[in-house]
């Protein structure tokens, strides 16, 4: 921030302002503005800086309120308008709807399994990434980590169609040795597989900084205390990596629970998640009321999963407070 109470006095022989780099002049201008900022309003600065983010979150909340409103109205299929009166009919219907229950459980179980598998697979990857002495191996692992981000989720799902389809690469290869064709697509395991494959980079990305923050000296210290590699992992590395594990689980779990594309494409309608159900209500049966109700249940579930994870670990476990 600029020195308050005036600009430096113009002196004779001072070079013209244009003699300075443009970036300097822009900063000078900004500081001149900042210098006029009243001292009493200092506290408002942080809120000003937060404002854009708060506006975005506020819009989301607004959307939720609109949705909650819609979920409490029943769709009139003669006019395709939501009814005027509030009722809990949509929720009552969900409660007794078998397909909804099945979808709900399918989503929850998938969330649990995908999160577990992702953590299991991401840990060694992140460990190798942060511990390898070979610069080449680290580069390969980094490329492997970021490459999937360049390929969108939908493209990747279609890629699996090409590989796993009835005429796909796998079945063609199996055909060469006289096997198959097998039906590999449109099953729950395939959806889970696609999800794990999609979420893995996120998990590695969340885990790697936590593992990098554990000094190698700590592992040597454990060895000098008599701990084998396995015990060092269990007693020292895993507990110290907890913030990263929680963060990774949080990201993977919430993304999986609300995923749409993988079940839609790899499940082909046979293994829908809640998001697919929402989509169907809005765009197939045009029942915005029921769709909103499912969407709210989904939001609530996601919040609960995140809340449970954080409660289990303590909010401090994310390590956001900074080192003291």
């Amino acid at each position: 921030m600029a020195i308050r109470g005036g600009r430096p006095a113009a002196r004779a022989g001072r070079p013209p302002a244009t003699a300075y780099r443009l970036s300097w002049r822009i900063l000078d201008a900004l500081e001149a503005v900042a210098a006029r900022w009243p001292a009493r309003a200092e506290g408002a600065v942080k809120w000003l800086l937060l404002a854009p983010a708060l506006a975005v979150v506020g819009l989301l909340v607004f959307g939720l309120v609109v949705m909650a409103d819609a979920s409490l109205r029943v769709m009139d299929f003669r006019t395709y308008q939501l009814g005027e009166d509030y009722s809990t009919a949509n929720y009552v219907r969900l409660f007794g709807w078998g397909a909804f229950h099945a979808t709900l459980w399918r989503s929850l179980v998938a969330t649990l399994l995908v999160t577990l598998f992702c953590l299991l697979l991401a840990f060694p990857y992140a460990y190798a990434l942060t511990r390898t002495a070979s610069a080449r191996l680290r580069r390969v692992l980094l490329v492997g980590l970021f490459l999937p981000f360049f390929v969108g989720q939908v493209v990747r799902a279609y890629g699996w169609l090409v590989i796993l389809g009835q005429q796909g690469l796998v079945n063609q290869a199996l055909g060469l040795v006289g096997l198959g064709p097998y039906r590999l697509l449109f099953s729950y395991p395939t959806v889970l597989f696609g999800l794990v494959q999609y979420m893995l980079p996120f998990a590695v990305l969340m885990l790697a900084p936590a593992l990098a923050a554990i000094p190698e000296e700590i592992e040597r210290a454990a060895a000098s205390c008599g701990a084998s590699r396995g015990r060092t992992l269990l007693r020292v590395v895993l507990p110290m990596a907890r913030p990263g594990l929680i963060a990774a689980a949080l990201v993977v779990a919430t993304l999986t629970l609300t995923d749409f594309a993988m079940p839609a494409i790899l499940g082909g309608g046979t293994n829908d998640f809640l998001a697919n159900l929402v989509h169907d209500q809005f765009f197939r049966t045009s029942n915005a009321g029921l769709g909103s109700a499912i969407a709210l249940v989904l939001t609530l579930l996601g919040t609960t999963v995140a809340g449970l994870l954080l409660a289990a670990a303590g909010v401090g476990a994310l390590g956001l407070r900074g080192a003291r």
Binding site: P215, I218, R220, A222, A223, S224, C225, G226, A227, V236
Partner: protein, 387 residues
């Protein structure tokens, strides 16, 4: 060694064998030999300091002894047994690390108990033993604190207790005092000395602090460029450095360059300065370039026209001029220029600044020293092992 099956030394002992025996140890990173050749023996119960600048190979040597890395050549024997294939967690070694490496998710007592659990001590015996060692490092009552709730010195003590609690046969110290301020450092040095004597554990300390090496050790190894330059007891290393690098690293004062003549004598221009060669292997050959180390605290300064000091055998007097005089409390450090030695700047330390006259910058003085304090070496040794 203590009770518990796995607590027994995992290396079979031959009671007469030295604690550590390194033969021709070498370790390479890519094309560079971080440690070229190291051979030494350390008897049981001794305190050895490996002294050297960063990059001298001293930390690599320690890693090879601890087992964190495998030697590319040579062997390590601990208590008579070859340990090249023994992983670090099976070696009877306790270690204090440079950045301490305390486990942040455990209490101080948890940290100290960890090696006991890992080495399968009787669980009923662990609390008492932890308490005993916390007491040994004067941390009674602080066992329940986490490392970040302890001061730097207290963390240091936890690290020491953790390294010693299972009564290892060998203690390795990897510059654990490097990051402490001077006062705390000196305090901890005395603490190490006390504990090491109390337990009689064989110790290898790695440091770049020459004072620490002299204060703590029974034996000193000076390393540079991946090699051992000298091994001996602290006094010998201090008095008779075997290599110009050792002389310089121990903080000698001034290095003079010239040619050697028989005697040995150092010739600078027309001036002949008699000296002594502390080690025949590194002595300069007559006619060849030579380098000489002159101890700052042995250089005497007298008024330019004044009388000689006492009657000890001194080399000829040289005329000089005080360039700078730095008052450091218990001593005064002089920088002197001596025109006859091609304008060379000499360092001289006056340890008794209150006892006699001080010299101001610009004052003409006469400078003299005993030939015993001018240590001559072959100048070709200086290249290659420069700090």
């Amino acid at each position: 060694m203590a009770v518990g099956v796995a607590a027994r030394p995992t290396v079979p002992r031959a009671d007469t064998a030295p604690a550590v025996e390194a033969t021709g140890l070498g370790r390479r990173y890519g094309e560079v030999w971080a440690l070229e050749e190291a051979s030494f023996r350390l008897e049981r119960g001794q305190f050895l300091t490996v002294l050297g600048p960063s990059g001298s190979g001293k930390s690599t040597l320690l890693k090879l002894i601890a087992g964190f890395e495998r030697p590319d050549r040579g062997h390590v024997r601990l208590f008579g047994a070859e340990v090249d294939a023994v992983p670090p967690h099976r070696r009877p070694i306790g270690m204090v690390f440079q950045r301490l490496a305390l486990f942040p998710h455990m209490t101080a007592a948890g940290n100290v108990a960890f090696p006991l659990e890992m080495r399968r001590f009787d669980p009923r015996e662990i609390p008492a033993r932890v308490e005993r060692f916390l007491k040994l490092v004067r941390l009674e009552g602080l066992g329940g604190r986490r490392p970040h709730e302890l001061s730097g010195g207290q963390q240091q003590r936890v690290a020491i207790a953790r390294a010693l609690v299972f009564e290892p046969e060998l203690l390795l110290l990897d510059e654990p005092l490097a990051s402490l301020d001077v006062r705390l450092k000196e305090e901890m040095q005395l603490e190490f000395r006390r504990i090491q004597r109390e337990l009689g554990v064989t110790t290898i300390n790695v440091t770049h602090d020459q004072r620490e090496a002299l204060v703590l050790s029974d034996r000193v190894i000076v390393m540079a460029g991946g090699r051992i330059l000298q091994e001996g007891d602290p006094e010998t290393v201090w008095r008779d450095p075997a290599h110009p690098f050792v002389a310089r690293f121990l903080g000698v004062g001034t290095m003079l360059r010239g040619r050697a003549e028989a005697g040995p004598v150092l010739r600078i221009g027309e001036r002949l300065l008699p000296g002594r060669a502390p080690n025949p292997a590194t002595a300069p050959r007559p006619g060849q370039p030579a380098v000489a180390a002159l101890r700052a605290e042995r250089v005497r300064i007298a008024p330019a026209d004044g009388a000689d000091g006492d009657g000890t055998r001194l080399a000829e007097r040289l005329a000089g001029r005080v360039e700078d005089a730095v008052f450091e409390g218990e001593r005064v450090l002089y920088e002197l220029s001596v025109p006859e030695l091609a304008g060379l700047r000499l360092r001289a330390i006056d340890r008794d600044p209150g006892g006699h006259a001080r010299y101001r910058p610009g004052a003409p003085v006469s400078v003299q020293w005993s030939p015993d304090d001018l240590l001559l070496f072959d100048a070709s040794l200086e290249t290659g092992s420069d700090p």
